[in-house]
Every structure is written in structure tokens, then in C-alpha cells.
């Protein structure tokens, strides 16, 4: 079985069993939705419907209702398109790239991140479609034999590459997501009592039975799909950047675009995952599965990709000057000091400065701070696209046609509408779908679950883990660090049982022949009292402790896990013994 280093923080907190995982994930689906869900759903639906209304008005009237003009032919809608596609990168990245790298922390977040990805790509896909103006002729982008002579679509054009890239990405992402969902739908199906949900989940589960051969295929299919999806993710945003990079417009015509767009996409995608996940874990009581460590990992990804983006911005600036191309130089000068300076500098602040704060461990482990930064990053990434698109276009080669872009009410309505629709989909997902990949999380329970990690050698042939039967009190771990969270209270009996197991290994001592344990570095008066309570009084006893005893001790005292081992109490005690003997 896979073993994990003891110093690695557990990924599943508390004393969970397989059944607990099922319960925790299925309960929100089976229970009635809370009032807040209905309120949020209503708000999202109203905003979404308003957006749909704006789109219908636009289709009926024409693209003229947008704030575009002769100079600025691309602005708001393409900004939103790129923004949503970017957000739609995190899910596949988490589930595919992290699967290839065997990162186990992905399992708690991949399902909902993938859902988010799919919904975000839906929203993204809408913008080019409505940008066509005549939506009903949308099939013209496909290479179909037609009545205008056999003129085909242009396979040299990045815009057509985009059609293929986005539709492949969306459909492969959807398949990847659904294949992972099938076994979890089967779990819900087998638990469902009411006839309607039972029927619904029976349909959705496709008759999954969990046979050994099915699992064998399942694992391979997940791996191969991950292998296919990984280059796909990178290709999609590279191709989106080609839309700009292949055109001869100052500020767009740069070879740095593909990697820089991909990093930016991952950056904004993870920020959106953070925003959603921080709310979801709290609302659905999933704090034991998505905890501070997961947030920290994601913040590290945000920090790294944010730094890549920052480097790209500065490289771009430098090259615009170093290239000696005056148009290029002017485009960047205009970005920073022209009429859109406020957009440029908000982009710089949000995307370059804010992720750097993640170097501080305290900040990247703070949930409130993470939430704020995730919003800031999303705003910053929207501005990035707006700056790239609008500032490059609004002052073109001919100063007499210089212009400004002001979004119209319809522009804003469509954008807000996609946000509303996105949340409508996500809320429905959170209500009816298993938000955690049940089958995957169960596979890491033994290697990364807290109760198993603390007693690494006892579980192998013992079907029951250390404390399975005891209803562990619900741990409130909202703001405390994971270390403090591991203070799970054990029942009286267990404490006695463990203490006696510990004493039987290191030998009994008595209060009469008591040594001053406080001399050992790492032991204070409080801890000494605790040790005495357990029955540890002398250096001799402490010196006999090994890894196993330390683990037992950690469970009993519940404080500073791993401390005794790190400070080598046994070694210290041996030295102290020698001193007192001589």
C-alpha cells in the first residue's frame, strides 16, 4: 500500500471511516436544501435571466447595441470570453495534471473544480457565438459542404483553431467529469429511499456495480484521459492567445503570449476555485476534506503562476522598448500612462503584487485573506484581458480614428448574466451532484487520513481503525490551523487503554522517584503535568520511547504532534540519566 511521510499533514481530518465519507458527501444531497441555497439560487437566476434577456435583445436588434465602434471592433465580449476560458482551466489542470503528478490533495477539490470548469467554458463559448451576430448561421464555422461553391472554412486561421480547441476541450472535459461521476452516482442511487431520486440516480449511474474489472478499466480510462487532457488544456489557451498573437497589432504581436496566457489562465482558474471552495466547504460542512492545507497548496499554485504572469508583463514591457519598434513602444507607453492607465495599474496591482503576499505562510494559510485575494485576482485577470484588447485597439495607426470604448448597458448586462448563469449551474451542481469524488477520497483515507496516519502500524490487519466506533465530536476547524485541529478528543476509555499500552512498553514509574521532566527541551510545566497523569515520571521511562510511543503520546496529549520526536526526548533523557548517575 502507498505510504506517506508522517510529517506530511493529513488530507482528511478527524476520525473518518469510509461510511463517514459517504455520509458527509451525500447528506447535503439527501436533506432538504437550506434557505440560503434558495435565496442564492433565486438571486443567481434573476441575474442570469436578465443576461438572457440582454442576449435576446442583442440578437433581435444586432451587435450595434454593444459599445463597439469603427476602431474598437473587439472589446467587452472578447474580454469576457478570454476571462471565462481562463477560469475554465483550473478544473482540468487539477484533475489531469495533478493526477499525472500523483498529487493526492487534488481528490477533495477536483470534482467541483471540474464542474466549475465546464460551466465556465459554457459561459465562454456563448460570447463568440453571440459575437457572430447572426447566431443562426453559427454552423458556418464547421467545415460543411455548402451551396456557395465549395469554399471551405479557413484552416489557417486561429479563429477556426479556436472553434476546434474550445469544443474539444468542453466535450472532453465533460466526458472526463462524467466518467468520474458514475461510481459516485451509484453510491447515491444505492442510498436513495424516495422513488423519484432513486429513479433519477439510477439513470445517471448507468448501472455501475463496482466490479473489479470495472474499476480496473476506470483507473486506466482516468489516467489516459488525464494524459490527453493535459496537453489539451495547454493547447486551448495557447490557441486563444494565437487569436491575438498572429495579428499585426502593436501589443498583440508577441511570441510570449501562449505561455503567458496559459499561466494567467491557471492563475485565474485557481482563484475562482478558491472563491467557490471556501464558501462550499463551509456551507456543506466539508471542512474535514478541504482544509487549510488544501487552501495552502492552491495558494502556492496561485503564487507561482502569478509570478510567471508578473514576469511576462515585465518582459513584455522591456521587449517593447528593446525591440526598437516605435509602434510597439507606444502601445505599452499608452497602456501605462494613456487614458486607460487605471485599468493597467489595477491589473498590475491585482496580478503582480497580490500573489507575492502568498510568500508569507501566515497569509497563505489564512482563509479570509485567501478569499479576498481570490476575488482580487479574478478582477485583475479581467482587467488584463481588457487592457490587452482595448488599449491595443483604441489608438490604431491612424490618429484620426483614435477612439475610446465605453461599455453599453447591454454589454454589462450580458456579462453579469453569464456570472448569474454560472452560479445557477454551480448551485444546481452543489445541490444534486456529489461535490467530492467519493471513490477517490476513499482510496486515500488510509494513507492520508488523520486517524490512520497517527497509528501507522496498527491498522494493516485490523479492520477497525483506532477509533472508528466512537462518534468523534464535530471538529470546528474554520480558522484554526490544521495542527490545532488534530486535537480530537478521545473518550475516557481509550485514553486509559492507550496510556496503559504506553506504560507497558516503557515500564512503570512512580511519583516517588520523580525526575524533573521540565529539563527536557520541549517539555513545559503543563506538558509535565500531562505526562505525570499518564504515568511517565522518570528519565528512564522517557529514554525508552521510540517512534511508536511518541505517536501514542501525541494522541494522548493531543498537543504538538511530532514534537517529541523532533526534539529527541529519548536522547535527551539518556543524557540526563548519565548526568544524574555520575
Amino acid at each position: 500500500m502507498h505510504k506517506e511521510a508522517a510529517i506530511r499533514e493529513p488530507l482528511i481530518l478527524g476520525h473518518k471511516t469510509y461510511h463517514d465519507i459517504t455520509e458527509d458527501v451525500c447528506r447535503p444531497i439527501e436533506d432538504k436544501a437550506p434557505k440560503t441555497w434558495y435565496i442564492l439560487f433565486a438571486i443567481a437566476l434573476i441575474i442570469g435571466l436578465y443576461g438572457v434577456g440582454c442576449i435576446l435583445y442583442l440578437l433581435g436588434t444586432g451587435v450595434g447595441v454593444w459599445g463597439l465602434n469603427k476602431t474598437i471592433g473587439w472589446a467587452w465580449d472578447i474580454t469576457n470570453f478570454v476571462w471565462w476560458v481562463g477560469i475554465g482551466h483550473a478544473g482540468t489542470l487539477i484533475s489531469a495534471v495533478l493526477l499525472l503528478f500523483r498529487q493526492k490533495w487534488r481528490m477533495a477539490i477536483n470534482r467541483s473544480a471540474e464542474a466549475m470548469t465546464i460551466f465556465a467554458v459554457f459561459m465562454a463559448g456563448m460570447f463568440p457565438l453571440i459575437h457572430m451576430g447572426r447566431l443562426w448561421l453559427g454552423y458556418w464555422v464547421l467545415p460543411l459542404p455548402n451551396q456557395f461553391g465549395s469554399l471551405w472554412v479557413n484552416f489557417n486561421s486561429p479563429l477556426l483553431w479556436d472553434v476546434f480547441a474550445i469544443s474539444t476541450y468542453l466535450s472532453v472535459g465533460l466526458v472526463f467529469w462524467y466518467i468520474g461521476l458514475i461510481p459516485d452516482f451509484a453510491t447515491i442511487r444505492d442510498r436513495a429511499k424516495k422513488p423519484v431520486p432513486k429513479k433519477m440516480y439510477t439513470m445517471l449511474a448507468f448501472g455501475w456495480s463496482g466490479k473489479a474489472k470495472q474499476w480496473n478499466r476506470f483507473e486506466l480510462v482516468s489516467l489516459v484521459l488525464a494524459g490527453l487532457a493535459t496537453p489539451l488544456v495547454f493547447s486551448v489557451h495557447s490557441i486563444v492567445s494565437f487569436d491575438f498573437a498572429t495579428s499585426v497589432i502593436p501589443g498583440w504581436h508577441t511570441t510570449i503570449f501562449p505561455p503567458y496566457f496559459v499561466a494567467g489562465a491557471v492563475f485565474s482558474g485557481f482563484a475562482m476555485v478558491q472563491t467557490l471552495m471556501l464558501i462550499m466547504r463551509k456551507a456543506m460542512g466539508l471542512e474535514a476534506y478541504i482544509h487549510t492545507k488544501h487552501v495552502e497548496y492552491m495558494n502556492i499554485v496561485i503564487m507561482v503562476t502569478g509570478s510567471i504572469v508578473g514576469t511576462a508583463y515585465i518582459t513584455e514591457l522591456f521587449i517593447s522598448w528593446y525591440s526598437g519598434v516605435e509602434y510597439e513602444g507606444y502601445a505599452f507607453m499608452n497602456r501605462a500612462t494613456g487614458p486607460y492607465w487605471w485599468a493597467y495599474w489595477s491589473m498590475m496591482t491585482c496580478n503582480v503584487v497580490s500573489p507575492q503576499l502568498m510568500w508569507f505562510k501566515k497569509l497563505r494559510r489564512s482563509l479570509v485573506f485567501t478569499f479576498i485575494i481570490s476575488i482580487v485576482v479574478n478582477i485583475g485577470m479581467w482587467f488584463e484581458r481588457y487592457v490587452i484588447i482595448v488599449t491595443s485597439l483604441h489608438r490604431d495607426y491612424l490618429p484620426s480614428s483614435w477612439s475610446m470604448h465605453y461599455p453599453s448597458a447591454i454589454d454589462i448586462g450580458v456579462y453579469l448574466g453569464t456570472i448569474g448563469l454560472f452560479f445557477v449551474f454551480f448551485l444546481l451542481f452543489a445541490r444534486f451532484f456529489p461535490v467530492l469524488a467519493l471513490n477517490e477520497v476513499k482510496t486515500i483515507l488510509k494513507s492520508s487520513g488523520e486517524s490512520y496516519k497517527n497509528a501507522p502500524d496498527t491498522h494493516h490487519h485490523d479492520p477497525t481503525p483506532d477509533a472508528p466506533a466512537v462518534e468523534s465530536p464535530k471538529v470546528d476547524m474554520t480558522k484554526e490551523s490544521a495542527k490545532k485541529e488534530s486535537k480530537v478528543k478521545l473518550s475516557e476509555e481509550e485514553i486509559k487503554e492507550k496510556a496503559s499500552a504506553l506504560i507497558s512498553k516503557i515500564g512503570a514509574g512512580s511519583a516517588d522517584s520523580k525526575d524533573d521532566l521540565k529539563v527536557i527541551s520541549g517539555v513545559g510545566p503543563v506538558l509535565e503535568g500531562k505526562l505525570n497523569e499518564i504515568g511517565i515520571f522518570t528519565y528512564v521511562q522517557v529514554s525508552k520511547m521510540t517512534k511508536e510511543e511518541y505517536d501514542l503520546l501525541d494522541q494522548l496529549t493531543g498537543s504538538f504532534p511530532g514534537r517529541a520526536e523532533r526534539d529527541d526526548w529519548a536522547g535527551q533523557a539518556k543524557e540526563l540519566m548519565n548526568k544524574s548517575n555520575s
Partner: protein
């Protein structure tokens, strides 16, 4: 012929795996294992062969690659050689760079969907299919081994039951199948 099926239920994957190992070494044939998540290492023990879906995915990918190449060569070179900015498409090889993105996307599209469809078909997991797991708890936290008496004719039912009890099973069930 009527056959008797015995189901042994476990509440831990490692116990089931150790049990299966012991049983197989004694010559018992395990017909099937039902579990809520993949038990790593169970396949060689009970004699489940590795799936060949990976090879299928590769073949589907090749199909996509070929189709994309043939299609684009026909559209852009043969049927209507487009002349963009005075740069006409004379041959596929001279223009191959701009065909790479779509070739890649179409390869991935065919490989992923071909494999997914094949997976659903061979798994017999399709909309409306009935579930075959013997106990609803096997998708939650229980693990079930299935034995067929016809495959284990050298053992009597009682012998098998005794052996199963030694492996730490928690429940047993049997069923006649026809």
C-alpha cells in the same frame, strides 16, 4: 444449470485482499469483487487481466490524426487552394505548420471520445442499465467477494464457509442463479 453463488462481505479492503490471497492459494476461485473504490493490487490476485483500453485509445487517436490530415489536405490543398495574402497553398507539407493545432485537437477528440464510448460499452454501463452489485452497501463502505460453487467444485459449501470465516468476513449471503 442451476448454480449457487456465495457472497462474503468485508468491511475493510486490506482484509478482503489478504483473505483473497489466502483463499486463492488454497485453490478457491474468486468470481468477482465488488467494492466502493478501486482496491489496488486485487486484480492479479483474483485473476483479472489488465484492460486493453489504452491500446484502443491509441488506435482512436491514430484514426483522428488520419482523418484530420486527409480532411485538411482535401479542403485546403486539393479542393480549393486558398490564396491568403499572396501565399497560396501548394502542398500539404509546405503548409503543415498551420494545420498542426487542428490535427492535434482532432486527435485528442477522437481518442478521448472513442475510448470513453468503448469504456461504457465494455463495462456495460449505459443509461438505464440495471445495477448488479449484490448489496447496496458495496457502493458505500462494504466489500463483497463472489464465489460460484460450479467453479469451486472441489470444495463443499461448508468447507468454503469455514475458510471464509477465517479470513475475517463479517456477513455471508447466498443465492441460486440459473
Amino acid at each position: 444449470m442451476a448454480d449457487k453463488v456465495i457472497y462474503a462481505m468485508y468491511d475493510d479492503d486490506d482484509v478482503l485482499k489478504d483473505g483473497a490471497k489466502k483463499l486463492v492459494s488454497k485453490g478457491v476461485k474468486v468470481a468477482e469483487v465488488f467494492s466502493p473504490f478501486p482496491i489496488h493490487g486485487i486484480d492479479p490476485i483474483i485473476g483479472v487481466k489488465n484492460t486493453r483500453l489504452g491500446i484502443m485509445a491509441f488506435l482512436y487517436g491514430l484514426t483522428g490524426l488520419t482523418l484530420a490530415t486527409i480532411g485538411m489536405r482535401y479542403f485546403m490543398i486539393v479542393d480549393w487552394p486558398m490564396n491568403i495574402g499572396g501565399k497560396p497553398n501548394f502542398s500539404y507539407m509546405e503548409n503543415i505548420l498551420s494545420f498542426i493545432p487542428i490535427t492535434f485537437e482532432f486527435t485528442v477528440l477522437c481518442a478521448a471520445h472513442g475510448m470513453a464510448v468503448t469504456y461504457l460499452l465494455v463495462n456495460k454501463t449505459l443509461p438505464g442499465m440495471p445495477a448488479q452489485n449484490p448489496d447496496p452497501r458495496t457502493t458505500d463502505d462494504k466489500f463483497v467477494m463472489e464465489f460460484r460453487m460450479s467453479e469451486n467444485s472441489s470444495f463443499s459449501e461448508n468447507e468454503l464457509e469455514e475458510m471464509l470465516k477465517e479470513t475475517g468476513m463479517i456477513e455471508m449471503d447466498q443465492k441460486e442463479v440459473h
